[in-house]
Assembly symmetry: C2
Homo-oligomer: 702 residues x 2
């Protein structure tokens, strides 16, 4: 039997026989460098293409600042309790503001810093909701009054819309803002427990101001929800003001570094100037409501965030992919009998088609969403800049049409992209096998934070219905002979014109690959339109069909977005170094892979719509799909390198650029792990749990 | 503007104007009681049917004991840091052992207690892996030596198989156990860093013994992995013994109450008796290896856990469903224009077909997996009891066949059921909208713990390949005219016999619904078999097809399991009170719903295999499916009531039996939440983070 107990307490420092141990061969660094030798792709050129050269350069500069600042040291990130996480997030928020001022970071640089930190900060909604709320909905006078101080962070705000009893249906919010003509104030009030504001980030502990969405009431009449600025805590003591009951709503699935809060108001009076009045207002002289001149303008503002979420989805998915693909190139399991006989040891799991099947289509999807997200943001920018009412060539009608398209596109793509990325992150985590479950994989925490994006800024299932409604209207316009000029309108017209003629799309044509997605979407739209016309059929009974229709349309948009970007790439010469033809062909193969992957996932409607024949589907699902996986496999590591996500951002043992996976896992477990600083009494009848309680408060180094 | 700051510090106790607030109408309790009035189902009778009357009674008794024991008080569950979680889990483990002794709980009662506690305990693997490992793999002498002490918990053990560098491929484990004939000992050793045992639960901080899987080496020759018992910590000081480096591997996605650990061994000597020798051993006189008489016996042991996981999947899914369905009956959003005009306020979200689409098929799936899990466990029991070699009527060959079927079935169903439940839990969480993201939903933490089941006891993707391999062999036997008597063998024979004849399955026949799933599975099996015969086609290239094949076969098994249980129910009279015909019809509708749901999710292969025509698919996907949702909707709440999961287990604001959702969320946020005991300084240039550091260690009441 073993010798007696060792003298060394617990496990903090490994003994010398442990520190001498090496991983068995083949080593991660060797595997990754051979991966990188075997692909023609230049990740730097591709990075510029994905993100723009300017963005790559900004990231390099900002990363250098953050990485050398000890407030942003990440070594304790995976160990903190909720309280420690929140303290860290407030410290980081403070430091970030200081750096922003010191380096005069512009919006893009600041956004880059937020992304690199990886976690959100306690000021999240001050920056993302309060400032923009006042900027977009405040009058010049209100900007002077609130925005200047908020930018300097003399006041710290949040944005309170959702209530305990109401999320999706904003019109039914219960909080009231009653106009009191006697002293020209609004009285903010929570009439029920369910009226409590709930979920607002930065509200729970941090903010001293809030924008509060409340039902405007004048002389007993309701005018719907409007935004009001309200101070909630004392600027010196930070105690809640009278009539305010405020706090943190408790732990969540993720995002625990932010203090999402609740807020109840008991007849709180605010002055007239605190109603944000750029779009609509109360005339204090006449006590009447002045409605917005153009409701469409609020529309444009609301869509902006959704467009940004599409691009963000791609970047979040890329975090998981970079980790999963690098680790799958390092991790070896079993020996493929048909594999390379010269190989040392077992087969890299990335060589198994079942692993390729799970990861490479996601890689293609991340690029597709990246390009589509960029295009959607550009579409939003154009609409905002060129679509002004009264501008020559822009009739009010055509403007309304473009806004409707922008709204429907941003709703649908937000729903599609955030759901795809959330699912993709979980697929990446699982593709890492057992170690994917460790926090050190670096994927789990991103997933926990990210899944909320499927609900915020509009629940995806609710948004999907809005997009489908738009599509049904577009189909109706086609049926009535007045098709719109939107993408959907043109697609539906094209389909309606030729749907009864014998068509034949070729899987060998990239253009046709886009066309079959358009065809299927149009087929489903008209099919659903037809059902909606059956007497007695309610909209509720169509919801499932409408959700599927929205998904099909979004796939068409994303496939189209991917195609158009690659087509432009092929035809536009630039002064910068360009991807060689071989590398460009890899991008086209990723486009095809994504298309064929979607087809083989749900072949039925491609067949039922007569877009593709059974033989074509069988060919796509087996031969084409497997061949594309094999063709892209050698480039997988270089492709994720091109996403240009630094190790500091990934904070992952499995996704290290250098492939030193096992050393990193071991080091984090043995040297940073607070649980290893305690010793327990495991005997069931001993009342001692931790043996030396003085060290049991073992804190991470936060 | 508001009055000055309030005197009351922070937010711990709500002021009286807050405590007087009520949720707006309709109230949750009213909605749920009207749900319960509108269904004929008797949840008590159905509970007995789902779980057996005996199990329901055990749960009632055990719950009473646990609920009144303050060690199991759950009010702090969602707030603890990892260290606090681990301390709680060790305390609860101790108390559970004490109660087990005091109440003489048998295996079923003890398992019930573990489930009701909800979280795992620090002793998890002592109970689940160490005891059973010695029982099943130890000789009578070894049981005397180790098992008696382990049962009394004089020694506490764990089970170490997975290594840092090896999970799925057990044959390639690196840890060695070298036989030393000079002193008749084994030398356990970790030759590389990647040989470190990794992931073993209860190892990190708790265990003082371990079963270690290591490569047996005799005179330089390897004999593959075998189990060895090894003491790792001192029984008095609890310090690691010499040559042992052991600790916790760090935080994980979930399951953080358990100390999953690592273990490195430096030439640790253990006596001959420590090799668990029931199946194979080293003869110390001749220094030779004695292989197992019947490798199949180990086989049976390994499948047992997988069968249990199938049943467990249903229960886990039911936790999410109970919460999501009750909350969807309480939560009201928007007004359905075609809804009941008499309704007060907005529409219950459970009335929206998009919500029904997401939840009701899962409800059907939970029953299907419950029945199939029970049948699989029974199959395992029969095989173990009646299939002994040498028993009359059981030739060695037919026994081998039954074991192969049991193995393939347990692998496939484990993969199918755990993935379905993990996905189902996430769907349930999302169906709760924004509040699903709160820890108080009670779903998120179950999901975080549960997803690991997709990887442990065999990664699902690896298991799926084994099932598909079995199916291909069965198809080959059919092709060779020697079909087996297994379910798969009979299904494949039937298909092969009539596949070229015109068939016509009817969607109105429940038996035919089972048959179309069998037909599709057989079609995919023969199709994949054909591809595997193409010269140059490697097994690796077939992995994706094999995964899909395994899934199709498992769906056939689950649909068949559901059908057979209901068929027995219809034909077997019992002395107990029975479900009335209306309630039984609801169960048949759930069977049909699950079948039609699976068909509409992936209609293509039903069409391609000629099991169903396009018109049938269109009818199933729209008319039948929507009608079944509508028919089952009124019974949804009573159906989850029948799962009989007590509020104490669910620990959920949203899933409360009484529907007091908003009061509960508010109470937990305001009265239990440690973050509300601190106040911060939010100004960016202040170095103070928490204003009163003395309260900042704000601990939950763990």
């Amino acid at each position: 039997m073993n010798a007696g107990p060792m003298k060394r307490p617990h496990t903090t420092l490994p003994p010398s026989w442990v520190t001498k141990l090496q991983p068995s061969k083949p080593h991660g660094p060797d595997l990754l460098s051979s991966e990188r030798q075997n692909s023609v792709i230049d990740p730097n050129i591709l990075a510029n293409l994905l993100h723009t050269k300017e963005a790559v350069e900004i990231q390099r500069r900002v990363l250098e600042v953050l990485q050398n600042d000890e407030v942003f040291d990440k070594t304790g990130n995976y160990f903190g309790s909720r309280l420690e996480q929140f303290k860290t997030s407030l410290s980081r928020g403070k430091r970030l503001h200081q750096l922003q001022q010191a380096y005069h970071w512009n919006e893009q640089e600041f956004a880059c810093a937020l992304e690199l930190i990886g976690d959100s900060t306690a000021y999240a909604i001050h920056w993302k909701g309060f400032l923009s709320g006042i900027r977009e909905q405040g009058t010049p006078e209100q900007q002077e009054l609130f925005l200047r101080r908020a930018e300097k962070m003399e006041i710290i705000g949040c944005f309170c819309q959702t209530e305990l009893g109401h999320g999706s249906n904003v019109r039914k919010l219960e909080t009231t803002a009653t106009w009191d003509p006697s002293d020209q104030t609004f009285i903010l009030h929570s009439p029920h427990l369910t009226a409590s504001k709930w979920w607002a980030g930065t509200l729970g502990r941090t903010a001293n101001y809030a924008i509060i969405m409340a039902q405007l009431i004048i002389a007993g009449k309701e005018y719907g929800p409007h935004p009001f600025v309200c101070q909630i805590r004392d600027l010196v003591t930070h105690e809640p003001l009278g009539g305010i009951y405020v706090g943190d709503i408790g732990p969540k699935f993720g995002y625990n570094m932010v203090d999402n809060g609740f807020l109840l108001l008991n007849q709180v009076k605010i002055p007239h100037v605190n109603m944000l009045a750029r779009f609509s207002r109360v005339d204090p002289k006449t006590n009447t409501y002045i409605p917005p001149e153009s409701p469409a303008r609020i529309y444009v503002t609301l869509t902006k965030i959704r467009c940004a979420l599409v691009l963000e989805s791609a970047r979040n998915m890329a975090r998981g992919l970079t980790i999963a693909i690098r680790y799958s190139a390092v991790r070896c399991q079993f020996q493929d009998p048909a594999g390379n006989p010269a190989q040392i040891g077992e087969t890299q799991v990335l060589d198994y088609t079942m692993v390729q099947y799970r990861l490479l289509p996601l890689l293609a999807e991340s690029l597709a969403l990246n390009f589509t997200g960029q295009a959607t943001i550009a579409f939003h920018g154009e609409t905002k800049d060129t679509g002004k009412v009264g501008q020559p060539g822009n009739s009010a009608d055509s403007r309304k049409e473009v806004l409707a398209e922008l709204h429907a596109t941003s709703c649908g793509l937000k729903a599609y992209a955030t759901s795809a990325a959330a699912q993709g992150l979980e697929l990446c985590r699982r593709a890492c096998g057992g170690h994917g479950y460790s926090s050190f994989s670096g994927i789990g925490n991103v997933f926990k934070d990210y899944v909320a994006s499927q609900t915020y800024e509009g629940d995806n299932f609710v948004l999907g219905q809005q997009t489908a409604n738009y599509l049904l209207k577009q189909a109706q316009m086609v049926a009535q002979g007045t098709p719109s000029e939107s993408i959907a309108g043109k697609n539906l017209s094209r389909y309606a014109a030729v749907k009864n003629e014998p068509i034949r799309f070729s899987l060998d044509s990239d253009g046709d690959l886009v066309a079959v997605f358009g065809w299927r979407a149009a087929y489903l739209t008209f099919k659903t339109l037809q059902q909606s016309l059956i007497p007695g059929k309610t909209r509720n009974q169509l919801q499932v069909a409408m959700w599927k229709l929205c998904t099909a349309h979004c796939q068409f948009l994303v496939i189209r977005g991917f195609y158009e970007r690659l087509a432009v790439l092929a035809s536009t010469p630039t002064p910068e170094p360009q991807l060689g033809p071989e590398a460009r062909e890899v991008l086209w193969k990723l486009f095809r892979l994504y298309a064929v992957f979607l087809i083989q996932s749900e072949p039925y409607d491609f067949f039922a719509s007569k877009a593709l024949q059974v033989e074509q589907l069988e060919h796509a699902n087996t031969v084409m799909f497997m061949q594309l996986l094999a063709d892209i496999r050698p480039h997988a590591v270089k492709l994720v390198d091109a996403w240009n996500l630094p190790d500091w951002l990934l904070d992952s043992s499995l996704g290290r650029y250098d492939g030193r996976v096992y050393e990193d896992l071991f080091q984090r477990a043995t040297q940073s792990n607070p649980l290893n600083r305690i010793s327990v009494d495991p005997r069931p009848y001993s009342s001692t749990i931790i043996k030396d309680e003085s060290v049991s408060g073992a804190r991470s180094n936060l």
